[in-house]
Amino acid sequence: MGSLRRIAAVAGNTFLEAVRQKVFAVLLVFGLVLIFGANYFTEFSFQEQFKFLKDLGYAAISLTGLLVGLLGAAQLIPGEIERRTILTALCRPLRRWEFIAGKYVGLAFLLAVMVGVMAVAVAGVLGWKEAQLIAREGSDPAVAAAIRAEARDPRLIQAVLLVEVKLAVVAAVAVFFSTVATSTTFVMAMTLMVYLIGHLESVAREQWLESGEVVSWMTKAFLAGVAFLVPDFNLYNLIDEIVAGNVVLWRSTLEVIGYSVVYIAVLLTAAWVIFEGRDI
């Protein structure tokens, strides 16, 4: 109970700090403008319009979430060390793992709120487009039903969940690097690097393994090492499938969520082990 209260205090403070900083509000506005702006591209068929809205909406959520995650990560532990505010926190009866957990929960909650707000905005834009299209083209009940099916696609909830867990993994990577780093720039650069490698690793693996060449044990060991250390961000490409209108099983979605939870747990445990022995 005591631990929960202390974790909640650190998480609440992390979230409050972000909310009271203008940069996060500006990023949120940027994401919302992108989402609402998409509604003005109307030169396509209604199926294409909805696909475009969903594509741009989820791209805006992912990009804004990534920027928020990186900026938020930079402020986690190195930011507190640079500002020396960490001294007045860790001298309390607060365990270091509670501090790490609180920082992570605060950042993950911030990302969840931002994704939630932008997802509601995407739903709003889709609803707005639905009303416009039905007013213009919905005299035929079959067309009206098709428009409604496109606008109110329940699979979009799967997409929101996947964006959410993808950003939660990015936040865990950032927390991990923030326990070893001494500068905010290092944390942002390393997190971004892992994000990019995570997107490229499966492509590289397929290229090498399917090229027909005999792969040396060193290459295999290297690929296995990268696959073990870096989360495979291509798994979240299910979002693209959903946005494209393809069926993605809930089971697949839950498998990706499970994979993410395991990675988050491993990263946070490693962060705790490193941070436990660190001089402040």
Partner: protein, 284 residues
């Protein structure tokens, strides 16, 4: 009853980086602070004062030696419950107000509910940040107000010991006096206060005992009375002595072989004593 803080052979070396060796910050510090004492850690910059404090708090791991707080191993949760800490030049989360800062630190100490809210009001009054001042963001505070807000935060868990690292650094004389008065008030409440300072006059005003550190080594330790009193001399404070009686008294003393060194208060200023304690090259 165990003492408030005890260290035995406390030593800290910091690595300088790959192939660059290590730097010694504190060398085998033995120290005992009794409960209810106001204890001063003195020394120039880099003497090891902050390092010693951080090891007692568990923020730094000793290279060797040990530290105890009220009988608990330093750095454990039980030990940290006993200490409130105000670091040197603290930078608090400036997006919080004074009251929010104390609430945050209270929650980190495991407090909550009506008890915490009552404690926040009490402490803000104690450090003279009650009313509207406590609701203002910390970024609008003066240095003195920040230090007082920090003190309130340090005291929120009602710790037995308060550890203040240079509490008056950068604070104007009036603010310094306020902090000095607060330390005296805390002593009156039976708290143990350990503080470091380079403002020696203030140390002299409030400390019961001091340790003087230099380059990580303990140079002197003792009660201020013992350290600053010239034991071969004798001082009598008299009121209402007439000029002719004074001259007669002096003659009487000299007739009996006593040498009158000077008349007046014989006590040396701490600053002079401190400088005299330092090695020759550091005095210049």
């Amino acid at each position: 009853m165990s003492c408030a803080v005890r260290t035995e052979g406390l030593r800290k070396e910091f690595p300088m980086g790959w192939f660059r060796g290590r730097v010694l910050a504190l060398e085998g510090l033995d120290m005992e602070v009794q409960r209810g004492e106001v204890f001063g850690l003195l020394g120039p910059n880099g003497s090891g004062k902050s390092t010693a404090m951080k090891m007692i708090l568990g923020l730094l791991r000793p290279t060797s030696g040990r530290a105890e707080v009220c009988g608990y191993r330093a750095g454990t949760i039980a030990a940290r419950r006993q200490i409130g800490f105000l670091p040197e030049n603290p930078y608090f989360p400036n997006f919080l107000s004074g009251a929010e800062l104390v609430r945050y630190y209270g929650r980190l100490s495991g407090m909550g509910g009506a008890l915490l809210e009552k404690r926040i009001l009490e402490l803000l009054e104690l450090v003279r940040l009650g009313g509207e001042a406590g609701k203002r963001p910390l970024r609008t505070y003066s240095k003195g107000m920040l230090q007082r807000a920090g003190l309130a935060g340090a005291m929120v868990g009602d710790p037995e010991i308060l550890m203040l690292d240079e509490p008056t650094a950068g604070v104007d004389p009036a603010g310094s006096r306020e902090i000095r008065d607060l330390i005296l008030e805390l002593r009156g409440r039976g708290k143990t206060v350990i503080f470091s300072s380079h403002l020696l006059e203030q140390v002299e005003d409030v400390a019961d005992r001091v340790i003087i550190l230099h380059r990580g080594q303990k140079l002197r330790e003792g009660r201020l009375e013992e350290l600053l009193t010239r034991k071969k001399e004798w001082e009598v404070n008299v009121q209402g002595l007439k000029e002719e009686d004074r001259k007669e008294l002096r003659g009487w003393l000299e007739k009996r072989g006593a040498q009158v060194m000077r008349e007046g208060a014989p006590r040396e200023r701490l600053e002079d004593y401190f400088l005299r304690s330092l090695p020759e090259e550091k005095r210049r």
